[in-house]
Amino acid sequence: MASADPLLTCRICGHEHRPVPLGPGERAHCVRCDTVLAHGSRLGPDAGLAFTLTGLLLAAPAAVLPFITAGKLGEKQTGRVFTGVEGLWHNGMHLLAVWVLLCGAIVPAALLTVLAGLLLPARLGRPPLQGRLLARAARALSDWAMPEVQVLAVLVALMKLGNLVDLTIGPGFWCYCAMTLACLLAWRSFEFQAAVENPARARPEPAQP
């Protein structure tokens, strides 16, 4: 490769671009297929790390605090993040229970941990350990992290059960919602900044023939 600049390859069409600086709020589109390649964060280069750490901090209370308390004829049941997993496991659907546990809890937490492993050393001015491997892991994990779908499922469950049992929403659900938002924003910040080796500082131009 003769070019000194790191090349920015479109993830959709494979077209290569030469990165140039990108201002806050500016978006870079692929010249061939128009896919967004990178965008300059309005919140500064540390936004991704801030969202990642927020998500990690919220993960613990989201995991232990109650989501919903359901009461019927004096009896009470508490729903938590692992309630869906228990429901499937106790009915013999072990594989499906593991799958729900992965998509709703383990993979989002792993994604946040990997992002922290990438962004924290970069913020401290050190190269991340196994950076390329971690970036690939983050992309793979992001495909299977579905906390936002779990949030919607709990909301649908709330509406469905509304006239069957008495419901109270607990703090765990709010922590989980906030963690979900932080996870999505952290991934989004990372995805578009990681398109080039110098994060948040690239505007692609067509590669020189």
Partner: protein
Amino acid sequence: MKPRPPSLRSGASANAGALAAAAAAMLVPANLLPVLNTQVSGVSRTDTIFTGIVELWRQGLWAIALVVFLASMLIPVLKLAGLAWLLLATRGRARHDARRLTQIYLALDFIGRWSMLDVFLVGFLAGLVRFGALTTVEPRSGIAAFAIAVVLTILATKMFDPRVLWDAPAPPDAAASPS
């Protein structure tokens, strides 16, 4: 970040097609088998995905019925139809509108995960509603078939290499390369 190698993943479209066909096959038991059994005050009721949606509608929960209909019935079918379209359009060297097909691919990639809604919902209801023998919710085998169909569909979309939309009609040495 290292650029992707210029060659297309070999066999990606065939693999995507096979996974999509398997997903379509799994949608049959997913829609015919019951997904949920509800016991309220001793009255038992078993629902498939469709009868569950009809029941929500009947209870006046129209918005929720619509959300579940979109996630559990429309999106899986739309996604497989869209994938079939992409695979057929990129077969051989026929000309196609690459930009439009790219938009379809990005849309399919975005909507796929929302089909998991019913799986999370059935699990959560089964875990939460356990009030002795009088009021319980239990999952049924249809939900496992549905989850398999969703996972196969997501895998099929991941397997599909969108560069085939752009590179197929051109000779292999036309891939962009730096000077």
